[in-house]
Amino acid sequence: MMKTYENFNELQRDVIREIGNIGAGSAATALSQLLNEKVTISVPSLHIIDVEKIITVLGGPEKIVAGVLVNMTQDIEGMLFYILNNEFVRIIHKQLLGEPIDDYKNITEIGMSALTEIANILSGSYINALSAFTNLDIRLSTPHIAIDMVGALLNYPAARFGEIGDKLLLVEEDFISDEESVTSHMLIMPDIRSLDLILKRLGVE
């Protein structure tokens, strides 16, 4: 039988959740520094679910979001995929560029760069934490960003992992600043061999 995300037992899921936790902590710190504001992150919740269900969780297939894709290479092969909703983008835009944005359609080139930079920082801090914990060398590509219907953006991870299963690993967490709380979603998708390696390094077989 082909090994897929669904086959992970409770202990293995706990470890994956913990990786999410560690990463989230350092991502919050990085975000605080960038925004010059206290940012905390809720304990991430982990879901191993169908692509179709993820789309429902994220507000339906035609919901417009910013999707950021970062590829992992070297010891680990796979991808990180952030889904930043309108709220998140609005707050980041206001904090970093000083002007609010009411609609994705009006986002400027500079706004896109700012989002890319945020994705860089978030993924960098996640992966550094994971790297330090597992002693694995993980390289990240520069982020690719697209703003479109969430269903269409999720075709990318679905196609990449579609041959081995229809379930993906979704980490959901809330970023909480002084004023507001926004929910962010990230898909962590090491390929199955890489995930096995991570678990092994963490002492979970």
Binding site: E62, A146, D148, M149, A152, G162
Partner: protein
């Protein structure tokens, strides 16, 4: 009153006049819309990948199995192969990634299958870097393609 039937990823649906098939937010996926204008039956396959794998039994997921399956299932409902026409849409490269994208491969594989099955492509709207929602009308065979950038177009 017509019904709107939704076709999910790696799935297919077939409807009769006057129902409408809807498939939301295709990125690199390709929607293959087959129509027989005499019996007014429409079928839509929402294809994720070009080539099937021996370990995966879902034939609706892959271009090389899904198109033939759709045509066959439509024939069971009275459609004739020689009357079928195809409209295809989707196959985008959402993230501007390098090399040949999955979208391109999907489009290519779908065209190859349609040629093999002798089904004529009468309209296509493929590629680009944006998502599309499809609405396929079994009565007329019209295909509406919706996207954020372009709004509605009809092919």
């Amino acid at each position: 009153m017509e019904e709107r039937i939704v076709v999910g990823i790696s799935d297919q649906k077939i409807v009769r006049n006057p129902d409408i098939l809807v498939s939301y937010a295709l990125g690199s996926c390709v929607g293959v819309c087959l129509h027989d204008r005499i019996v007014r039956v429409a079928g839509l396959a929402h294809i994720l990948l070009p080539e099937s794998k021996p370990w995966d039994m879902n034939e609706y997921k892959y271009a090389d199995t899904a198109v033939a399956r759709l045509a066959k299932d439509m024939e069971k409902l009275g459609c004739m192969r020689y009357r079928m026409t195809a409209k295809i849409s989707g196959g985008a490269n959402m993230f501007y990634t390098n090399g040949r994208s999955v979208g391109d491969k999907n489009v290519e594989a779908v065209k190859k299958e349609l040629a093999r099955l002798n089904i004529r492509i009468v309209a296509e709207d493929v590629g680009g870097n944006f998502g599309r929602t499809l609405e396929f009308d079994s009565a007329s065979g019209r295909l509406i393609v919706r996207s954020i950038q372009r709004g509605h177009i009809e092919i």
